[in-house]
């Protein structure tokens, strides 16, 4: 164990089948099986990020993706330093889910640093979220990134971005 590492609890939130699990599967350190998601409803992974002055370990709580916001176990959010909202760029409805999830989290935990990932950017011809919409969100001060679990585009940056903000 790296004793000096700074740990931060980060929740991964998003609607059903937006690619959260794929994001963490390839880019994080994981020891638990995905079965935990369906049984316990959460799976914990770790993403270590080397910042200029220190190592930050993001303890990622991957919460089971559900479109039903009410079923979200808020206890899993307790003590989170930030969160990652994931939406599927090919399905605008998932963005709606992500927005309402953010509201829910905001209501329960107060304002927390977060990153919105619009995933599946590799499926360009199916992409259905307009730049205007994106710009509108960014204008609200949101960190929005396009990402692809398949190519890795935007993933590392998103984690790093969040790490800097929660470690600050």
């Amino acid at each position: 164990m790296s004793a000096a590492a700074l740990q931060k609890k980060i929740c991964m939130l998003g609607g059903f089948s937006v690619g959260k699990t794929s994001l963490v599967k390839r880019y994080v350190q994981s020891i638990f099986s995905e079965n935990y998601l369906t049984t316990v409803g959460v799976k914990v992974d770790k993403k270590s990020i080397e910042l200029s002055d220190r190592l930050v370990s993001l303890i990622l709580w991957d919460l089971a993706g559900e479109d039903d916001i009410a079923s979200l176990r808020m206890s899993y959010l307790r003590g989170a330093a930030g969160y990652i909202l994931v939406a599927d760029g090919t399905r605008p409805s998932t963005l709606e889910v992500a927005l309402s999830l953010r509201q829910r989290v905001e209501a329960d935990c107060g304002p927390l640093p977060f990153v919105l990932l619009l995933n599946k950017i590799d499926l360009t011809h199916q992409w259905s979220i307009g730049d205007a919409e994106l710009k509108q969100l960014q204008d609200n001060g949101w960190r929005v990134r396009r990402s692809s679990a398949r190519t890795g585009e935007g993933v590392e940056d998103a984690f790093r971005d969040l790490a800097i903000r929660v470690a600050g």
């Binding site: 164990m1 004793a3 000096a4 590492a5 700074l6 740990q7 931060k8 609890k9 350190q29 994981s30 020891i31 638990f32 935990y36 316990v40 409803g41 959460v42 799976k43 914990v44 992974d45 770790k46 370990s57 303890i59 709580w61 176990r73 206890s75 899993y76 307790r78 003590g79 989170a80 330093a81």
Partner: protein, 620 residues
């Protein structure tokens, strides 16, 4: 044209004897052949005779061999026995070839099942014989395994029971009243703490972690967060709003104990079978950490640097393990030998002591049994004491006295004696001694099975003894007096007779004897002295009475006084000769006890005399 056509129709009708030949087609064929040979025959089918033997001939020529083969085949097919024989020839090959086809099994299965059932029903031994070579090795193998298992467990048990440790556990089981197996389990199942996590309650982040040496380890940060997640899950799912988390998980031989604190939770991963008391130990560590670093714990936000001291405490915790087995293994053999030797010595000393007291007791009981007048009905150890009970004649030996001689501790003996009267000769003798009070000259002894008295005794005592012997209880051994000499007989008797035969003569009216009687007096004095000596020797008192007599002449009163005076005079004269006057009683008989009728002076002279009587009495 119609008639020949009808004839043709008739000709071409199916015939039963035509062997199924299409006559129309055949006729057509023949006409065609004829036309080819000679055109004039073109329109003369009427030339066909109803049964043309040539046709048969043609058939025979053309198909003779085939017909033969077919008839042989049909014969085989139609005759069941031949068909069976034919099928039997090819059946094995056919089945072998068809065995690849799954349907064969399906088709055969019901028939086989039925056949097997029938076979078992008719004679189960057949099936048993068939299965025997299969079943027996299987059974043997299973029994072998079972024996192996039993042997192994027996071995374990023996190992534990015969070792020093096993003995100690037996002692512990006996002392605490728990079954031996439970004690063995408690000691053999050691536990060890493999991991200790200190987890921040609010964020679920790991504050500090320590692992035992060589404990398999996953990323503790992930493990701790997942633990919190699982705890949250359980809490959400089952205990509703309660702030009661999951405090114990068990997975095989791994246990997970969670001790919640205000800001941090201590989670220990334990392998084995930890005692409940370990909870207290973990709680104490957690409380100490909270005491030392309350602020740091509360403000924890993921930075675990600066918790080195906490980690040290956890490391201490992670070193915890069951120590009982270790210590027993460490105890060096000489200590065991010493303790065992000491125990052996103690046991030997105790055994010797017990053996000695048992011997003493046996001796005591044996001695009591030998005592006449004591009958032992019960003797044995009872709760560390010796108990004895029986019958005892009050005249028998005193068991207390025997006990004092035996060196046994009287405090350890409980005795109960019921009184009775014994008929043993020895006891009868003792009883007789008490009741008869024999004079010292009599010796009473047991001779054979009766009591014999010997020595000498006065007649009176003898008479009393005889009376007593008659009152003895029936069945008592006899009492033989033949050995007792009546003191009236023998030397003393002769002396008595000698003294009693003597008289001292007196002259008429004289109270003193004439001088010529001095010789008689001297002799009497000697004899009386001898009598006194003899009676002293036989412990008897001799009573000598000196009796004065007178003749019948003269007054009665005078005669009485005279006779008494004569007796007194003789006593005085004897005293003068050294005889103790206390031995001599005097009596005056007057003329009342004459020796002879006084018909002459000579007779009167004989009656004027002093005579002696002697009686023996017991010396009391």
């Amino acid at each position: 044209m119609s008639e020949p056509a009808a004839t043709l129709e008739w000709l071409l009708r199916p015939s039963s004897t035509a062997n199924g030949i299409d006559r129309r087609a055949l006729a057509g064929l023949l006409v065609e052949l004829a036309r080819n040979v000679g055109p004039p025959h073109a329109a003369a089918p009427s030339g066909i005779v109803p049964i043309d033997p040539r046709l048969e001939q043609l058939r025979g020529l053309l198909l003779g061999r085939e017909i033969e083969v077919l008839s042989r085949l049909s014969e085989v097919v139609e005759d069941p026995e031949q068909l069976a024989a034919a099928v039997a020839r090819v059946l094995p090959t056919a089945i072998a070839q068809a065995s690849t086809d799954a349907r064969l099994g399906q088709v055969l299965a019901p028939a086989l099942e039925k056949a097997t059932q029938t076979s078992i029903r008719s004679d189960p031994r057949t099936l048993i014989n068939i299965l025997y070579p299969l079943i027996v090795p299987a059974i043997r193998k299973s029994i072998g395994e079972m024996i192996d298992e039993t042997f192994q467990s027996l071995n374990e048990t023996l190992k534990h029971s015969l070792s020093w440790r096993g003995l100690r556990w037996r002692w512990e089981a006996w002392r605490t009243g728990t079954p031996f197996t439970a004690v063995v389990l408690r000691h053999t199942l050691v536990y060890r703490i493999e991991h200790v996590f200190l987890i921040h309650r609010h964020t679920g982040l790991l504050i500090a972690h320590a692992a035992a040496k060589d404990a398999a380890s996953q990323d503790p940060q992930l493990v701790s967060s997942m633990l919190v997640a699982i705890q949250d899950f359980v809490q959400d799912s089952f205990s509703g709003a309660e702030r009661q988390g999951l405090d114990s998980l068990r997975l095989g031989e791994l246990r997970l104990w969670s001790e919640p604190g205000p800001f941090a939770t201590l989670v220990a991963v334990i392998r084995g079978n930890p005692p409940e008391g370990l909870h207290d130990g973990l709680r104490a560590v957690l409380a100490r950490i909270h005491e030392e670093r309350p602020q740091a714990l509360e403000d924890f936000s993921g930075d675990s640097s600066g918790f080195a001291d906490v980690e040290a405490q956890l490391t201490e915790c992670a070193a915890l393990r069951q120590a009982a087995q270790e210590s027993s293994r460490k105890s060096s053999p000489w200590r065991v030998i010493l303790v065992a030797g000491l125990l052996l010595l103690l046991a030997a000393a105790w055994g010797l002591q017990r053996w000695r007291s048992d011997r003493l007791w046996d001796d005591y009981v044996e001695r009591l049994q030998l005592q006449p007048g004591i009958i032992i009905t019960q003797a044995g150890r009872r709760g560390g004491k010796f108990a004895i009970a029986g019958l005892r004649d009050p005249l028998a030996a005193d068991p207390q006295q025997l006990l004092r001689d035996s060196k046994l501790d009287p405090a350890r003996i409980v005795a109960h004696w019921a009184p009775y009267q014994a008929l043993d000769p020895e006891l009868v003798l003792r009883r007789l001694r008490l009741s008869l009070d024999p004079p010292p000259s009599v010796t009473l002894a047991v001779v054979g099975n009766h009591i014999a008295a010997s020595g000498s005794a006065p007649s009176l005592w003898l008479a009393r003894a005889r009376a007593v012997s008659r009152t003895l209880p029936a069945g008592t051994s006899g009492f033989d007096f033949s050995g007792v000499r009546d003191v009236g007989d023998g030397a003393i008797g002769k002396l008595r007779a000698a003294i009693e035969s003597q008289q001292i003569r007196f002259n008429n009216g004289e109270p003193l004897p004439p001088p010529e009687e001095n010789a008689v007096l001297d002799r009497l004095a000697t004899q009386l002295e001898e009598l006194a000596t003899l009676s002293a020797a036989v412990h008897e008192t001799t009573r000598v009475t000196v009796i004065g007599h007178s003749d019948a002449t003269g007054g009665g009163t005078f005669n009485l006084s005279l006779s008494l005076a004569r007796a007194e005079a003789v006593r005085a004269l004897l005293k003068k000769r050294g005889i103790d006057p206390d031995l001599l009683a005097v009596r005056g008989a007057g003329p009342l006890e004459p020796l002879e009728a006084e018909v002459s002076d000579a007779a009167r002279s004989i009656n004027r005399r002093v005579s002696f009587t002697i009686e023996f009495e017991d010396q009391q």
